[in-house]
């Protein structure tokens, strides 16, 4: 992967606020490489040295990317970066950051000290023709929006999905939000509920820099 005398690429997992110095998260990156921070003004991209190639989508690799982000977000507010973003060298990465600095700054202000929580409501097999979908959806949305800073309705990728929404929630209000989800779950005990998170705010940051198609910094 690394040729002697030739600088390797940098795979970017996420961005955090500058730490003032290099911070290491251990050898948890692709190919067991060290995950560490670089510095750009008041931001620190979280990277590992990596081969410059197309990163195919596979469960294991996407999971690794996600695990690194989760590790980082235990201590820091993160701006998630889309899976597969690798830069030929440090200079190009920092150039991309300079191009996106304003957008990153704005995004960090919005998601600082907040996390994403996901709520999916799914019809059981035998209730696929249930006619209470709209009422159920509005009950969930009305109650949960009050506990969140922002919400984003996501694609209903299955006919059995009633609701697929992500919520941006203040870290100190997670318990409050969870309590509300629990109550709604009890009210609609006949449906399947998937409550997930806390996640990096994937659905509330959408910055695309130097990418030919959707999939740049997001």
């Amino acid at each position: 992967m690394n040729t002697v005398g030739q600088e390797s690429g940098r795979y970017v997992y996420c961005m955090i606020k500058s730490q003032g110095e290099k911070k290491s998260f251990g050898n948890i990156g692709f190919a067991g490489e060290e995950v560490y921070t670089l510095e750009y003004r008041d931001f620190a991209p979280v990277v590992s040295n990596a081969a410059v190639k197309k990163y195919e989508v596979s469960d294991e690799d996407v999971e690794l990317h996600r695990r690194v982000e989760e590790q980082v977000m235990k201590e820091h507010s993160v701006l998630p970066v889309a899976y597969g973003m690798v830069f030929k060298n440090k200079k190009l990465l920092l150039f991309a950051m300079s191009a996106g600095y304003k957008a990153m700054k704005k995004a960090m202000n919005e998601v600082d000290n907040r996390v994403e929580l996901g709520v999916k409501v799914f019809l059981p097999k035998e209730a696929a023709a249930w006619d209470g979908k709209e009422k159920c959806k509005s009950d969930f949305m009305e109650a949960l929006k009050k506990k969140a800073v922002q919400s984003k309705e996501l694609k209903l990728f299955s006919d059995r999905l009633v609701l697929n929404t992500s919520f941006l929630v203040d870290k100190d209000k997670i318990d409050d939000f969870s309590g509300e989800v629990g109550q709604l779950g009890n009210k609609y005990a006949n449906l399947k509920l998937q409550y997930s998170g806390p996640w990096p705010p994937y659905n509330f940051v959408d910055i695309q820099i130097l990418s030919r198609r959707k999939g740049g910094f997001r």
Partner: protein, 95 residues
């Protein structure tokens, strides 16, 4: 090179039963192609497969088998989209 084909005849208001049938079959084939090789629809099925597993409606073996098949389908669909499969190209034209 200029070829008088069914599209030109159709524009002129002329229909020929044989060509009409071919046109209809092409439309059906195109529709089936778009349904089968639509990357977005395959991505939806990948997500649904994952959710069904997470909600306990299928075993890990079933999930992995379906997932591998769907990823293969997606790869083919994306390759097809890149190659413009299903788009009729006038190979004799000057374009």
């Amino acid at each position: 090179m200029f070829i008088i084909d069914d599209i030109l005849l159709r524009q002129m208001g002329i229909t020929i039963p044989g060509l009409d049938l071919i046109w209809t079959l092409e439309q059906i084939r195109g529709f089936a192609h778009r349904e089968m090789y639509n990357p977005e629809k395959i991505k939806n099925r990948i997500k649904e497969n994952r959710l069904l597993f997470e909600l306990g409606e299928m075993t890990i073996d079933e999930y992995e088998k379906n997932n591998a098949e769907l990823l293969q389908e997606l790869k083919l669909a994306e390759l097809g989209a890149e190659m413009n499969l299903g788009v009729r190209t006038d190979i004799l034209g000057a374009r």
